[in-house]
Symmetry: C2
Subunit: 197 residues, 2 copies
């Protein structure tokens, strides 16, 4: 890979880490450049602004996550087993961050959602699309579970799927707040209740 | 009330509004002073720093909210009816904000939790106490519901109560993100599922 595209990737990596740890408002282009080891001129060659970069960070982050979601939700396991695997992967990611870095940074998407929703329309729109995608992926598994009779048909809805993702985001919030992955211990049990499984 | 204490209250009011709308990192003491119509010297007479002020804002906000929580959870209604009333009040608050200001700012406490948990230890500790208090209040109602047989004894736990608050915070996140109070429409139904009521 050429030097130029390498710089672009380094900027994206640096921004992803900084935004995940410290949010959007608190970081500047200069700091991103320092961390990425690129000059400001190079930054503006690739990105129009911190906002434009953030949109790409969100896209890239969800593309990578989405691949895992699809892989996990497409196995031959029973529908609810696949959903459980997906949620346990989210717990494991927070636990790994805690054990490796000493702190839980939570969900990049959820962090940005609360930080920027009422301040930056384009990032909010992008995040709405991402969460709608997540909720649709969960709803599709719920439809399979309902078809098999493992959950009531009345719970194979977008509203219930939104509740599943909301439960995940809410408990990740508490895990981040307490820097304690054990806050997520009840996630699957609570989700089973929510689904009336 | 004297002029001096009035300035203190104006600072607290201004900070609460600004932090709720735009977060902690993005606002400065100068902006708070302008909104409160006080001089910087006056600010530092009452508060050591933006952080010290934020701790008071969180305290004050929860003290006010807590009074409503206690009043709502102490009526003669059935335990689950009281919990439903409490959650419907949260929905109504977001809907009122939407209809009045045109934007949903979400939960001040949840916003700060995601913005500051891994950056400001004293605000995080304060927020942990507040959420622990919320969860304990919900757990107490769940214990009453279990004693009456409306929910299984095994769901009258802190873990389930944490799930109830997590569901609320997660759906408030989606309401804020989409600037749409309808995101909260499933809250009570999802909560009943979670409780296996």
């Amino acid at each position: 890979m050429g030097r130029t595209s390498d710089a672009r990737e380094r900027i994206l990596d640096a921004a992803c880490t900084l935004i995940h740890t410290r949010g959007y408002v608190g970081i500047g282009v200069a700091e991103i450049c320092t961390k990425a080891d690129v000059r400001k001129g190079s930054f503006y060659h690739y990105f129009e602004s911190k906002q434009a970069l953030t949109l790409e960070v969100v896209d890239l982050h969800w593309q990578q996550q989405r691949a895992t979601w699809i892989a996990t939700l497409s196995t031959d396991d029973e529908p609810l087993q696949r959903l459980e695997s997906l949620l346990r992967l989210q717990i494991a990611a927070q636990r790994t961050a805690h054990d490796t870095d000493g702190h839980i940074d939570g969900c990049l998407l959820g962090n940005l959602a609360l930080e920027l929703s009422n301040q930056d329309g384009s990032v909010a729109t992008k995040l709405q699309e991402v969460f709608a995608d997540q909720i649709a992926l969960v709803a599709a598994v719920l439809a399979e579970a309902a078809a098999q009779g493992t959950i009531p048909e009345s719970n194979a809805t977008v509203e219930t799927a939104r509740g599943v993702v909301a439960q995940l985001e809410g408990l990740v919030m508490f895990a981040k707040l307490s820097n304690d992955p054990a806050m997520l211990d009840g996630l699957w049990r609570n989700t089973l209740g929510l689904l009336r499984a």
